[in-house]
Amino acid sequence: MSKVTEKLEGMNVWIYHGQIYIPNIYSAGAVGSRFLVGLRDKKRIMGTRCPTCNRVYVPARSVCKDCFSQLDEWIEVSHQGTVLSYSVCHQPNPVQPVETPLVYGIIQLDGADTGFVHMLGEVDPEQLRVGMRVQAVFKEERVASILDIKYFKPLG
């Protein structure tokens, strides 16, 4: 990107191209780290189960949002799931992980009770519908990031 201002033709108006960096680093924490390491090393999507509410959270979290129980029971959930909701995004933005158009989806994985936010891929936007079955596609080189899952593609 040019760091220099551009002049609009025929006008004394300049367009100033600026940019800011917001360097930001945080620890995923004990539970988040275990979830991400599971993705990286064994292609496992892990969740934690609340013993009181009998609800499985994916991605894993340490405390139940309703009853505040400590969640110690780890459960591996399926790579397949059902689309609860989706959104097609055409507006490019530098923080987006892939080029537009991209499809964000909320996927309830089999064995989980919560929605998992990720991207949908290999899918024609017109074929999208709530309730379609999808499957996780993992990257070859994984670095313990949520993007180790490339996207979810339609099943069959």
Binding site: M1, K3, V4, Y16, Q19, I20, A28, S33
Partner: protein, 168 residues
């Protein structure tokens, strides 16, 4: 089967902690408008610092304004070229590296930041070239040094790299 030592077992089961990092630049654009655009154009094309003068109170404003902040009248289109030599009236020796708010990059450091009384009596804030703290003094004579490359100019006030000490 050999029993594992507790120490070894503890080492193996040590959890790995992941850090998540983001450093994506966030670009943005803004229009300078007509009056500030004139200032930008003069800096880029002619290496001139220009301000505009109020028709009523005859005060020069920089950055240029549309309405005089004092008299609240329309400034018109009366431009004044400011001299590029002046006298340091006060300075700050910056040791902490500041971030350029427009590009998110660090400014050169250390650079003294000074208020310079230009030769027409206008105060202008700029960096000084002299980075030796012992050679700085109030009253030293300085002159503006512009970016040489035409393509790199176009950032308004930042087109002046710094003010260089001159003898006269």
């Amino acid at each position: 089967m050999a029993r594992e030592s507790p120490k070894k077992k503890a080492k193996e089961s040590k959890p790995e902690y992941i850090q998540v990092a983001f450093n994506t630049p966030r670009p943005y654009n803004w229009s300078t408008g007509k009056y500030l655009g004139k200032f930008y154009a003069e800096a880029k094309e002619n290496r001139k610092i220009v301000g505009n003068r109020c028709p009523k109170c005859k005060e020069i404003w920089l950055q240029p304004t549309v309405v005089c902040p004092k008299c609240k009248v329309d400034m018109g289109w009366d431009w004044v070229q400011l001299p590029q030599t002046g006298t340091v009236t006060q300075y700050t020796y910056l040791v902490y590296p500041l971030w350029d708010p427009h590009y998110g990059e660090k400014w050169a450091n250390p650079y003294p930041s000074a208020m310079i009384l230009l030769d027409n009596g206008f105060y202008y804030r700029a960096f000084l070239e002299e980075t030796d703290k012992d050679k700085l003094r109030v009253g030293m004579r300085v002159q503006a040094v512009w970016k040489e490359d035409y393509e790199e100019r176009g950032q308004g006030p930042a087109d002046i790299l710094y003010f260089r000490t001159i003898e006269d």
